[in-house]
Symmetry: C2
Subunit: 338 residues, 2 copies
């Protein structure tokens, strides 16, 4: 197996503002694994506030010697080896996992959702993320996309979240989800805000409180009229177990959990523990977004809009039609170079 | 998809005596699913004391209408449909699951351990089961097989279990596991017996107490010098969760859990909960045994000797070489008709 990788900076079509800051590019690394003339594509996306970077990903990938494995199908062993190279580096690890899944799926001639026994027609709708901004900017963003999606996701954790939601509601009656990104502090106020949000037609609340405040998240989930999903509180498979009874569901992202194989295990563990499942993404190309989409027929919610936010997508894969996720029939992770 | 099935009674090479009785045949049903010229093979095995029968399996299979599915790869949906037809009927459901995995694996051109990303070389040893009998008969059974296996499994729950173990030890120094099949009643005596067994070179104890006595099993596991595995206490995926902290590991059998797909989910859930995994079987042909063997690279223990006990095996699949499980490279579940 031959591993190749190169930096690829994602250019955002619009400035992206969240609770943590604002930016117009996202660093990324594109990965290829070639084996017997077939190439699998993978990707790492590294939002700066999360700790990885082009330097850290390239440095990680340079340490890998995939030639100690003669068979790309031995993913259990290969990915254990990759995981053991260093702690952290989840996006770097995910890039290898995604490329291996694309490669093996191509060698099998099937897309991974099919290999996993899933029906593409069961893929859910995806939300589209409305980032923070002034009321005018927010209304504009909503009007830009309103006809193309069935649910919008609104980023909260601003100085005036109710104003943000009112702005959105001024121009659309679509169902909404909200993502607080740990932005609220007081659990009683959070509960009051959630009650108000429920009256505004919001269906679900993501990470209302800081990630380590599990007792408060459990308190909130017990009383909340809306399901509460964990995002920052759950990174990898080992984090899922302790969220049972703490939240209603978990947001699984390939860049957090090291890739498709671990994501699949997390989906199955979550369901066995009675947790709902959401699939999310960072700002990514169609490579990683389509990879995540392969699991989407198993998900209750999906926020797979990461490729829609960029202007230099080198691939075409998962589509959104009338708000619904449409998986390509191409093998592997279901993408083609454009 | 075309489903065919016919009774197939397994003839035991030797009388098989366990805590519950003694018999010389095991009822079974062989299943075939044909799709676009390719046939997948499956099997139900129905030890009489477990509640299913040729009548119940045939009656179940006759209710299935697989023509409502155009694609055998949609296993999540197909197996949900099969599961919803009636409660119980685990072996009948497993027969369909196994045939679907054989079929789809053949359509993909790969064996399922490879599709699951596992390395065949990681498959464990299998134990060989020494059934109950007089000291002379037990010694004979051990001597018959001693050179071919690295670990023997001794059935306990008799009137004099220590005599059974002494008989085995009189003729071999191989490591042993024991399967009590719920045969012990007193937890303190069980703990004393386990301490004695540990001195006799026994490595693991299966189902020492009745299946519903979870508190006593937990008490025992906490104090036992040997790992305690649950067999009758765990049937399906929904049973795994409550065994966390109760036993050291679980014995997964396709005929208990409705097949390979659920078994794979159980393996992953068990590991996420810190439970060890064993793969077992009933008296089965190489069809179902090889199907279970596809998961074995993920297992800590395996007792996949079910086909070695019969004289009319219509298939050839998983082999045992020097005590180790050797998976065939054939696609699907890795079997060929003989």
């Amino acid at each position: 197996m031959q591993l190749r990788f190169y930096p690829y900076v994602l250019k955002l079509a619009h400035e992206f503002a969240v609770a943590a800051g604002s930016r117009s590019v996202t660093p990324g690394v594109q990965v290829e694994i070639e084996y017997e003339g077939v190439t699998g594509y993978g990707e790492a996306s590294m939002p700066p506030y999360l700790g990885e970077s082009i330097e850290s990903v390239v440095s990680f990938l340079q340490q890998l010697d995939l030639n100690r494995f003669s068979d790309p199908f031995c993913m259990e062993d290969i990915l254990h080896y990759v995981d053991d190279v260093a702690v952290g580096n989840a996006a770097a690890k995910a890039s290898v996992d995604i490329a291996l899944h694309d490669l093996t799926g191509k060698l099998m001639g099937l897309p991974w959702h099919k290999i996993w026994g899933l029906d593409a027609a069961s893929a859910p709708c995806t939300t589209y993320t409305i980032g923070m901004g002034t009321p005018e900017v927010v209304k504009e963003k909503v009007l830009e996309v309103e006809g193309r999606f069935r649910v919008l996701k609104v980023k909260l954790g601003s100085d005036d979240d109710r104003a943000l939601v009112r702005s959105v509601r001024a121009v659309t009656s679509l169902p909404l989800t909200v993502d607080v990104n740990q932005g609220w502090r007081d659990r009683q106020k959070a509960l009051d805000d959630i009650a108000w949000l429920a009256e505004q037609g919001v269906m679900m609340v993501e990470q209302p409180l800081p990630k380590d405040r599990l007792d408060d998240l459990a308190w909130l989930t017990e009383r909340s009229p809306l399901p509460i999903f964990a995002d920052e509180s759950v990174q990898r498979l080992a984090d899922v177990r302790r969220l049972e009874g703490v939240v209603s569901g978990i947001n699984i992202k390939l860049m957090k959990c090291t890739g498709m194989r671990e994501a699949w295990k997390m989906v199955n563990l979550a369901r066995a523990l009675g947790l709902k499942v959401m699939l999310g993404c960072m700002t990514e190309t169609s490579c990683a977004v389509s990879a995540a989409a392969q699991l989407s027929p198993m998900a209750d919610y999906a926020d797979l809009d990461g490729n829609l936010l960029i202007s230099n997508d080198p691939f075409r894969g998962m589509q959104v039609k009338d708000g619904k996720i449409v998986l390509a029939s191409a093998p592997g992770i279901g993408i083609m170079k454009v």
